[in-house]
Each structure stands twice: as structure tokens, then as C-alpha cells.
């Protein structure tokens, strides 16, 4: 069975500093990996995905993530955090063997708090 671990419930960072939100995964085949963000009272918004190709994936709002197969990780990063980045971030994985549907397995979420 596939699984996702987000080891940090909360990450605090000062505005202007780099941020990292950690994610590790487990799947039986090759993974499709995703990051979604949830702002208060809003739905989850797609940030970026890794399907194949370059291990460094760039997404919305200046975020990027690095796929590391040997460490089974897909950490989310941003060079310079903004207060407006404060939100709940979810990592998700889909096993390529699941067929046509997008039956995603999510992590428990990491609350990012960016302070002035």
C-alpha cells in the first residue's frame, strides 16, 4: 500500500528566509507526486507535480520541489518565504499501477507559518 509521511505538523520561518516542507513516500511502482496548499476557508490548490523527467520541479507562487528517488523524498522548497505563504500544505502520491483514476494518498499536512 502506498503512504506519505509529513514529519512536521508545523514549520515556522521568518519572512525572506528559505523554507522547506518535508515529505517522504512509499509506493510499489513509480510515483506520481503532488503538493497541494490549503488557505483558510478555501479548497486545496494544486502547487506542483512530479511525473517523470527533471528531478527539480517548479510550481506556482515560486515554489519548487525536488524528487529524490534514493531517499524516497519530495520536499517542498521556496528560496524566500512570504507572510502570504502561511497555509496548510499537503503532499500526495499516486501509484502508477492504480490505473486510470487519481486515487491520491495524502500526508497529514504541515502548517506553514511565516512571520515578519
Amino acid at each position: 500500500a502506498q503512504s506519505v509521511a509529513q514529519p512536521e505538523d508545523q514549520v515556522n520561518v521568518a519572512e525572506g528566509n528559505p523554507l522547506t516542507v518535508k515529505c517522504t513516500y512509499s509506493v510499489s511502482g513509480n510515483p506520481y507526486l503532488f503538493w497541494y496548499v490549503q488557505y483558510p476557508n478555501r479548497g486545496l490548490q494544486f502547487l506542483l507535480k512530479y511525473i517523470t523527467g527533471d528531478n527539480l520541479v517548479k510550481g506556482s507562487y515560486g515554489f519548487e520541489a525536488e524528487f529524490n528517488k534514493s531517499q524516497t523524498s519530495f520536499h517542498l522548497k521556496k528560496p524566500s518565504a512570504l507572510v502570504s505563504d502561511s497555509a496548510l500544505y499537503f503532499c500526495a502520491v499516486r501509484d502508477t499501477f492504480t490505473g486510470g483514476g487519481n486515487k491520491l494518498t495524502f500526508g497529514t499536512g504541515t502548517q506553514l507559518k511565516v512571520e515578519l
Binding site: 479548497g43 486545496l44 507535480k49 499516486r94 487519481n102 491520491l104 495524502f106 499536512g109
Partner: protein
């Protein structure tokens, strides 16, 4: 483009009552998914429609949950009778078929509180 709309945004019911949640996907999105987040835990898959057909309902907790998507447009998720452990946030998501299928657009969720 209108997003995925869910109604109600919050429902508070007594144990044993019935609740029906509704999801209006983005127009033209044939894939429709229901997910649930309970008590701050991970978001879990419930089921997947392709148009009006249930493609995968392996995540449905038990037979107290019934999902429908008549006509392949909006979907409803009925919980009858509701139990305390059903409390949580129910998310609906939709996507295109084909190349756009991997990116899901989520609604804001329906928060269900069972007392």
C-alpha cells in the same frame, strides 16, 4: 471559470440523523472524487466517478455512505444514519479525462459535525 462548489459549507447534526452533501464540479470535468479529512489527520480517498459511473468506491467506510452522480454532473454524498466518527471535512474534487486527469481541482469542503 467557476471552481468546484460544495454545499453546505458546514452541517451540524445529531447522531442518527441523515445528511446530504452536494458537489458541483467544474463544467466538463468527467472525473469526480470524494475525499474526507477526519480530526486533522490525512485526507483519505472515498470514491471516484467517471461521468455517472462509479469507477472506484474502495474508500467508502461502510454502507451508511451513499454517493450518486445522476446524469454525470453534480454529485451527492448521503450519510444515513450519521455516527460520531463521521465528523470531518468532506472534499470534492474534479478533473478532466485524458492529459489533464492528474491535476485535481478541489472544493472548499463541507464540514460535518455529528453530535
Amino acid at each position: 471559470e467557476a471552481g468546484v462548489t460544495q454545499f453546505p459549507s458546514h452541517s451540524v447534526i445529531e447522531k442518527g440523523q441523515t445528511v446530504t452533501l452536494r458537489c458541483d464540479p467544474i463544467s466538463g470535468h468527467d472525473n469526480l472524487y470524494w475525499y474526507r479529512r477526519v480530526m486533522g489527520k490525512e485526507i483519505k480517498f472515498l470514491l471516484h466517478f467517471v461521468k455517472e459511473s462509479k469507477q472506484d468506491e474502495s474508500g467508502m467506510p461502510n454502507n451508511r455512505f451513499l454517493a450518486e452522480r445522476t446524469g454525470g454532473t453534480y454529485s451527492t454524498l448521503k450519510v444515513q444514519p450519521a455516527e460520531l466518527e463521521d465528523s470531518g471535512v468532506y472534499f470534492c474534487a474534479s478533473s478532466l479525462l485524458g492529459p489533464g486527469a492528474n491535476v485535481l481541482t478541489f472544493g472548499a469542503g463541507s464540514r460535518l459535525t455529528v453530535l
